[in-house]
Symmetry: C2
Subunit: 366 residues, 2 copies
């Protein structure tokens, strides 16, 4: 674990790193071109807004992608730290700049914590920002073992999960998982911005979820898009192709009496189904248990079962009538892996294995 | 309040309406073409899967948009209820079908509760689904006062807020707030579906939020898009125009050494800024109080203040150094309207008005 840290750039991410390090007892120094930001971070308890007198163990460059290379060069010229990492959302451009500009690229490893908030600046910072989140580390061909060790220790100190990826793989992936989703959220939100007064009264949770990240700082995000332009452009081309097909299909459906309505509905359904498949790849279910419960025909029986099971995170997946005259109902429950045993015990204790219900564990699934 | 209710279609919304009505003591009958769905709803305690012997006060047609007209005709031909409403996410097509097909359009008023979940079917139903949500009622030129009264009573019984809108206004608005956002979520999620293995490891909360609704039933949503095609097509055209500009700008940025990088960055920034403006229209802040706190230069002072204030929903909006040598820090806090007084009292009690801090209420803002 680093004993001393210098955070250069006390925005949301830099200040959150500093707060997490302070919590772990690390000595933290804070620097920002904007003196107010460093003062605010200091007042938040993120460290001291002072220049360290001797090199710190690790310096974190929490600056926009285009500034990582110049900031590393400046810091290395004044021997600010033994090792260096950054937190920019793009890894290729900083890596190229570092290899070109920095006196000692061996002491640097690129990093990107996959965590953020709609609010930016030090006032939005929190020591918990990275807990349980993925934090990519992208060693270049020059990165040395000490820098990688120091950065990995910082990631673990922040409660995040280090994942090693080349800068190229990282950038192609985040174009799909972060940059283009941000642009799609912005395009969606812009429609509301230009809709007639009152339209916002029909906004529900769905719209809020889709557009939440669109509230992010436009200049910061424009710089992220610029610095990852080749990968973002490729994904936008794919989106544009799908949108064109979809839009043509909906145009057909908008014309009464046009031929091809059935085909247009199939096109819309197909685009939606591909969305379902993509959304399915984000699930974090992990292994879970399943239970089969047989209920008699008694109004409310399933309601009572689910009320007993809900505190354990149990979800009913399917129910089918069985037996003579479809008299019984077989219900398939899904139990979260962590609480499977407890949920089962509690349901048995509540009488669900006796008389009017039967619980059968089908064992864990993956 | 209706004393008896018939729910036709025991999916997520129909079963949730039935559960809310049962909770309020209403007699509820359940019907569904899919006998299993009605049996499951009955077992959940949503009512009886039986045909009522005499007309109920209100029948709720919880069927897809294209089936509202035919279902109303069938129900009225067998005198199922005194009044009728539906819950379809589109209001123009059902209204036109009802005026064309139903024996008694006077007894019908269109309705649309702005609530949903990613999971569908009766097993996902909950009596709380509509609590605090907007529920649009769209009387046609023929709708009579008793039907509107009965539907309004149902909305209130479900804990929702009735909002009256013409079917045309409703459909134009939900194209912006619901249907196109769903399609955008699907287009975004589809990119992950077709990305290289491992890309999902970089999925964060942002991607999950943007794509959550993309998990919805593709056939149901294709039918919603079909039935609101003219309004959806118009919004998709606007999205397509923005996407084309954005995509061209990112293509320019992807080419090294191309002229026009500055202009392309401005285009990207402008699209993002319009997204920020649109997302801003969804805020539900209400009136709130503001507080100004002056802190001396003492590392961690602001951190202690925010930890004391956070339980009251207080957010720090801005901080500026002031005084000789920027010695003091003026922090602007935003208090939620509901808890303004309590937060202020608690902060004063914690000593924040004495000695090292000064609290000044600037009065409520709108």
């Amino acid at each position: 674990m680093p004993r001393s840290l210098l955070v250069i750039g006390t925005g949301l991410v830099g200040t959150s790193v500093a707060l997490a390090a302070r919590r772990a007892g690390v000595t933290v120094f804070l620097a920002d071109r904007d003196v107010t930001a460093a003062r605010v971070a200091e007042s938040l308890g993120a460290g001291l807004a002072e220049t360290p007198r001797s090199p710190v163990d690790l310096a974190v460059l929490a600056v926009p992608p285009a500034q990582v290379g110049p900031a590393l060069r400046d810091a290395q010229l004044r021997c600010a730290a033994d090792s260096y990492t950054d937190v920019a959302g793009v890894k290729g451009e900083p890596e190229r700049d570092v290899l070109r500009l920095a006196p000692d690229p061996v002491a640097y490893v690129g990093g990107h914590p996959m965590a953020g908030r709609e609010r930016s600046g030090p006032l939005a910072a929190t020591a918990d920002l990275f807990t349980g989140k993925t934090w990519v580390l992208s060693p270049s061909a020059r990165t040395g073992a000490p820098a990688l060790r120091a950065a990995t220790a910082l990631v673990e100190l922040c409660g995040a999960v280090p994942v090693r990826l080349s800068s190229g793989s990282h950038d192609a992936m985040v174009a799909v998982t972060s940059h283009v989703p941000h642009l799609m959220a912005s395009l969606t939100a812009a429609r509301l911005g230009e809709a007639p007064a009152g339209t916002e009264t029909l906004v529900g949770q769905g719209f809020r979820d889709v557009t939440r990240i669109a509230a992010g700082d436009p200049e910061l995000w424009a710089d992220i898009v610029r610095s990852n332009a080749p990968a973002v452009a490729a994904v936008l081309r794919d989106v544009g192709r799908d949108l064109l097909r979809l839009s043509a299909a909906v145009d057909t459906l908008a014309e009464p009496g046009t031929d091809g309505h059935d085909r247009a509905v199939r096109t819309v359904t197909e685009v939606l189904a591909r969305g379902v498949a993509g959304a399915g790849r984000t699930r974090q279910d992990g292994a879970a248990g399943r239970l089969r419960v047989v209920l008699g025909r008694e109004p409310g029986a399933l309601g009572r079962l689910l009320r007993a099971a809900a505190p354990h995170g149990v979800v009913a997946e399917r129910a089918d009538p069985v037996g003579p005259g479809d008299h019984e109902l077989v219900v398939h429950l899904r139990l979260p892996a962590a609480a499977s045993g407890a949920a089962l015990a509690e349901l048995r204790a509540a009488g669900w294995n006796a008389g009017h219900a039967e619980l059968t564990s089908l064992g864990p699934t993956t």
